[in-house]
């Protein structure tokens, strides 16, 4: 029966939708400035050049680049290739919710994630230096999830 088939399909679609939405509601709701717990706002962002943001943000305890981060880094790479006389320091940072020593290692890992990505887009490793500040240099002194998300970052800074 045709209609039966249609109902069956509709049911499956609804069920899938429900399943997916059930997953979504378990994750942190995006608050406009955060997606998951990755910062997506622009309050703290500075620009290396017009349209080239200087920093990318990370999820808690993660050093994986998000889609937005990769986008930012591609812009940085393109701009770096154009300005080949410049060298850079990539600063890795962590939020305050971790032990100091581990955060130093985590910051280093984040900065290297950014560095590696820039390198795959044609920026020579010799122009990129990495430094980790762990939790020592937060941009936001707040003690809340939004502040922490701003602090979990890797910042590209001109070195010369």
């Amino acid at each position: 029966m045709d209609l039966g088939k249609i109902f069956k399909n509709t049911f499956l679609v609804i069920l899938t939708c429900l399943l997916l939405s059930a997953c979504a509601t378990q994750k942190k709701v995006s608050t406009g400035q955060m997606q998951g717990d990755v910062y997506t706002g622009t309050d703290t962002v500075e620009y290396l050049a017009s349209g080239v943001p200087d920093r990318v943000f990370f999820a808690t305890n993660e050093s994986v680049l998000t889609t937005a981060s990769r986008d930012t880094l591609r812009k940085q790479a393109a701009w770096m290739r154009k300005n080949s006389e410049l060298t850079f320091v990539i600063e890795g940072h962590a939020d305050e919710r971790g032990t100091r020593e581990y955060n130093l290692a985590l910051g280093e890992r984040r900065a290297n994630a950014a560095k590696d990505y820039l390198m795959t887009y044609g920026v020579s490793a010799s122009r990129l230096q990495v430094i980790s500040y762990g939790k020592e240099r937060p941009v936001d002194s707040g003690s809340n999830p939004l502040a922490w998300s701003k602090n979990r970052r890797s910042v590209t800074v001109k070195a010369n």
């Binding site: 050093s63 581990y102 130093l104 290692a105 290297n112 980790s132 500040y133």
Partner: protein
């Protein structure tokens, strides 16, 4: 007939002796031992001379206050109010009237005498058992007058050891990071002070970021992380000469340093290309050895007191956990399995426990576990606290605690705290500025 009596005697005698009543005493007071610290007596001549040198009205009383504060801080003693003392210091030092001291409920008594001999401070002290009416210990120390606080600390150590059965921890120092300024741009300096917060000295000027200082076993060297010239590297500072040097020649960040128990090596992390591994460097022949080999973060290493094992922090399971391995890097075993994540393991000086920081559900805990990971005990919970360091006798942990800021991001502070292994006696450790990353020295005198 006679034999019959004898027989009865033989039969009943052993029974009678067996019937000795035994009572098991399995409980007692855990309240602090009442102790009287009599002001140390000073003769008039010494007093006026010392007055000139030290600008102190009554050095005998000052030393007794040092002792009193130490005993009180330990949580194991209850120093009694001096106003209740009936005997004068000089007479008490010669021959205490024990019934007077028993009357104010003192169970132990400390007396002493200070003299100035050839520009040297000479301090005698005696420890008395008030209830047994006997002397328990008598010692004399000679030193330069400006060391008078240390005399107080050493006396406390001796009395503490005699009364509790374990070594004291009062003649010790704490090296830490003194902090000032806004949270987003803290100025940090290396600082060193006596265990009771006095005699603070700053070892760096605060021009560069410094972190995680740690003493060597002889207390003459400090290893720490400095961002000098924006190159985060492990440094070695000789606090006698003030000479500093970079440890090893690494092409990247080195951090999380500690000395080996014999003081001959420094163990630390080296981060390269997003991977942190643990290395040791021999300070004599400068040989560098790689200890771990894993693409995860391996950091916060700490040797066992016998030097045979290393505990460290790794996220090879996905999250920060505590691992133990042999000192050559073999036999890596995870030991933390509770809920939450674990960091900053430090092996106790007694060797039987590992102290750690635990993070779970947005709270930070300081805790201890046995070296196989069993018997986990959390001692204190807070918004943020970490980096425990053991007192040399393994009885007290010092750590630092940071406050949560308010909505405006204001109100940040970092302070040192101490807590007993029992989970009792949590105390703020007095520092001149904000402070973090404490490291406890071993006993300066033995």
């Amino acid at each position: 007939m006679f034999f019959r009596y004898l027989l009865i005697l033989v039969i009943f005698l052993p029974i009678k002796t067996l019937a000795l009543i035994e009572v098991d005493i399995t409980r007692g007071n855990l309240s602090p031992l009442p102790i009287a610290v009599s002001p140390l007596s000073v003769d008039d001549e010494s007093k006026s001379n010392l007055n000139k040198i030290l600008k102190s009205e009554d050095i005998g009383s000052d030393i007794s206050i040092v002792i009193e504060n130490n005993l009180k801080t330990s949580g194991l003693f209850n120093p009694l109010n001096k106003n209740a003392f009936l005997q004068k210091p000089d007479i008490a030092h010669l021959k205490p009237r024990f019934e007077d001291w028993a009357l104010i409920k003192a169970q132990a008594l400390i007396t002493g005498k200070v003299t100035l001999v050839d520009e040297k401070l000479r301090v005698e002290f005696r420890l008395w058992d008030v209830l047994a009416a006997k002397e328990m210990m008598a010692l004399a120390f000679t030193t330069v007058p400006k060391n008078w606080r240390r005399v107080g600390h050493i006396i406390t150590d001796k009395a503490y050891e005699r009364l509790t059965g374990e070594k004291g921890y009062f003649d010790t120092r704490i090296i830490y990071v003194a902090e000032e300024g806004k949270k987003t741009n803290r100025v940090k300096k290396l600082a060193i002070m006596d265990q009771d917060g006095f005699n603070t000295k700053y070892l760096t000027l605060g021009n560069e970021l410094v972190l995680t200082p740690r003493f060597n076993p002889a207390n003459q060297m400090v290893t720490y992380l400095s961002y000098f010239r924006n190159l985060p590297r492990v440094y070695l500072l000789d606090i006698e000469t003030g000479v500093q040097e970079v440890v090893g020649d690494f092409p990247g960040m080195t951090f999380a340093p500690r000395f080996s128990p014999d003081g001959k090596k420094i163990i630390m992390s080296f981060a390269m290309d997003g991977n942190s591994e643990i290395y040791t460097m021999d300070l004599e022949n400068r040989v560098v050895e790689k200890i771990t080999n894993h693409p995860s973060i391996d950091t916060s290493p700490s040797f066992s007191p016998n030097g045979k094992y290393i505990c460290f922090n790794s996220d090879r399971s996905g999250y920060q956990q505590i691992y133990v391995m042999k000192s050559d890097g073999s036999n890596v075993k995870r030991i933390s399995f509770g809920k939450g994540i674990y960091g900053t393991p430090v092996w106790s000086p007694r060797g039987d426990l590992i102290a750690f920081t635990k993070m779970h559900k947005g709270k930070f805990y300081i805790g201890v576990m046995r070296t196989d990971g069993s018997g986990e005990r959390l001692l204190t919970e807070n918004y943020y606290q970490e980096a425990p360091s053991w007192s040399p006798n393994g009885r007290v942990l010092i750590f630092y605690r940071e406050t949560k800021t308010d909505e405006k991001g204001e109100g940040f502070s970092a302070k040192l705290w101490s807590i007993d292994l029992t989970g009792y006696n949590e105390r703020l450790v007095k520092t001149e500025t904000d402070a973090s990353d404490p490291s406890w020295s071993s006993l300066l005198s033995n």
